[in-house]
Amino acid sequence: MEHKHIDGVINMEMVFEGLLSLAHWQPILAIVSGLVIGSFIGATPGLTGNMALAITVPLTFKLPPVVGIPFLLAVYKGSLSGSSYSAILMNIPGTSAAVATVLDGYPMTQKGLALRAMKAGLYSSVAADTFSDLILIAFAFPLANAALNFGPAQKASLLVLALVLCGGLLGDSLAKGLLASMLGLLFSMVGLDPIVGRARLNIFGLGRMESIDLVAFLIGAFALAEVLMQIRKNTNQDIGSGKVSMDIGEQREGFTFRELFRYKKALIVSSIIGTVIGIVPGAGASIAGLLGYSTVKKISNEPEKFGTGHVEGVIAAEAASGAVSGANILPLLTLGIPGNAAAAILGAAFLLQGITPGPTIFVDSGPQMYSIFLAMILANALHVPLGSLVMKAFSKIRSIPFHILQPVIISLCILGSYSVNQRMLDVYIMLAIGVIAYLMRRVDIPVAPMVVAYILGRQTEMAIRQSLLISGGSLKIFIDNPLSLLFTSCTVLLLAWTLYVKCRRDASNKLHAGV
């Protein structure tokens, strides 16, 4: 299919069209509810942001894209900031994104400064998120346009690089990450061959389907597996069971936006770190938070205060993890490569809405993309007042036994996976993938690379096979072009570097163990 090029950095005509489609009550209501749902889910220990996204994707399939996608983005944004509430109040990060927030957030609660910590976290997260969204808006269009010129060989080498990055970085072990990627690729191949249309890996009749349903796969891998993990851990963690008083109603010492700018160095540095980490496939909000925190600590005028309940520590951690949310959909939208689990789920939501992430996204769905971008900015603006309300409400909730939530989530998994195609086969697939993902997690195999590989599998296969058909089977096609050479070299270097680091670590471990 031939696609027309659209010149310019930002297409103003599309921006206005996008703005018009957003100026209705439905998208605004979707954003508000998404933020509230996301904040509560993110704040609940055991319920992750990915789970929130996975179980809410099926709720959006009958909504128009300018309502459904902003809702999911708001859920994601809300879950990122919500995870900091339980980190600050209870010393339990709601999701891994808030791991670094605990370091200064909880000591602030112990000092009776919980409200100040939560507000500082919310404001810095929203400010950094806005910065990251602006970077996305500025670069998405030119990057997508540039990627339109990619041929199958460039695309194949880029996709392989993304798979190796995700496999290597989304877990502790490269080999296990790659194992997960291979499993994801195998799952992506179940169904009809994308070139000749013949059945492949045909078990239980699945080979005659076009492919395994993406939503069922995502719900199983993220939501059901997470619930099974929680059931196993028997996490009967009650919200509000922390030893420190969570009631922030009487606390007067809050935090203002003006005060935030006193810590502008921390805010700017962490926002940049979070944005860069967000763009890199394989990295995520937890890495960004920790990296932002440690970098700001190094350059701070008061490094000795970090870890003792210093507000700058909370700002550094929250700004870095908040900045990930806009940037990590940049590779998804422009290249069709989801860099992490959240982007993978959002990618599925885009597909469900008939928007194919990738270089042609602005050609095919330009105005919708700009309304989604504008919705992201609007979500940030609404996040401040809504977040303040949610944090107060959350601090008053005394007890939500986790085991009460688990069956509801399982029901949502079943209903969600069924309702997209209205067939029981998808429920069976979701249950099977959920159990497989649970077993993978039990032996420390990361699930996210499997999901990313599943999503990228068909594209990667098509690109590799097309390249080989063009070159008559010669592998030279993957190094002939400067861009494919660059991507292939990066893949080889990355693999070599990871192996080198692993060998050094093993050698040092043996030395310390006295072997």
Partner: protein
């Protein structure tokens, strides 16, 4: 037992499972469950780089999966070179790990039973029974609370999915 040892053992388990899956793909799923693969021969498809064959990419991924599995297994063997970890001790550890999943067995059985019964009995009835079983299993024994909770949750889900979104669920014998 140190975390390191556990890590090594999970490496071994993952490696062995990867090799088994690769074997299943190579000897069964690709030749017998993939179009043209048996007639053409998997090795021939790979060597001649027949990219138009449906079995081409699955075969490549299977080889890579086998290599990753082998690496993980060899990593374990290398880490335990000269150590006293015997096969029987390893099997005991594996058995212990499986036994630790005891708690999960009723849950997985309930999910399996759900999958088998849902079409025959009906979606909403089976889902309500599953939900009730899970709640009961997780310690909710108060029957009044259980009934109220189930009614509220399933009612809410029914209104959203069946009435608002208008999804048609299998009705089966009951509902």
């Amino acid at each position: 037992m140190t975390t390191g040892t556990r890590q090594n053992r999970t490496d071994l388990y993952s490696g062995l499972v990867a090799i088994v899956i690769a074997g299943a793909c190579w000897f069964w799923l690709i030749p017998f469950r993939t179009a043209n693969a048996k007639e053409q021969g998997i090795l021939k498809i790979i060597i001649s780089k027949s990219a138009n064959q449906p079995g081409f990419f699955p075969a490549i991924v299977t080889i890579m999966l086998f290599i990753v599995g082998l690496v993980l297994t060899l990593e374990y063997a290398y880490a335990h070179k000269g150590s006293e970890e015997s096969l029987s001790r390893l099997l005991k550890a594996a058995f212990k790990s499986i036994k630790a999943e005891n708690k999960m067995l009723p849950i997985i059985t309930a999910l399996l039973a759900y999958g088998l019964l849902v079409n025959g009995i009906g979606f909403w009835t089976t889902t309500t029974i599953l939900l009730g079983t899970l709640l009961y299993y997780s310690g909710v024994k108060d029957s009044r609370f259980l009934a109220l909770y189930l009614a509220a949750t399933m009612g809410g889900l029914y209104i959203f999915f069946s009435v608002i979104v208008q999804v048609r669920f299998p009705s089966g014998l009951l509902f």
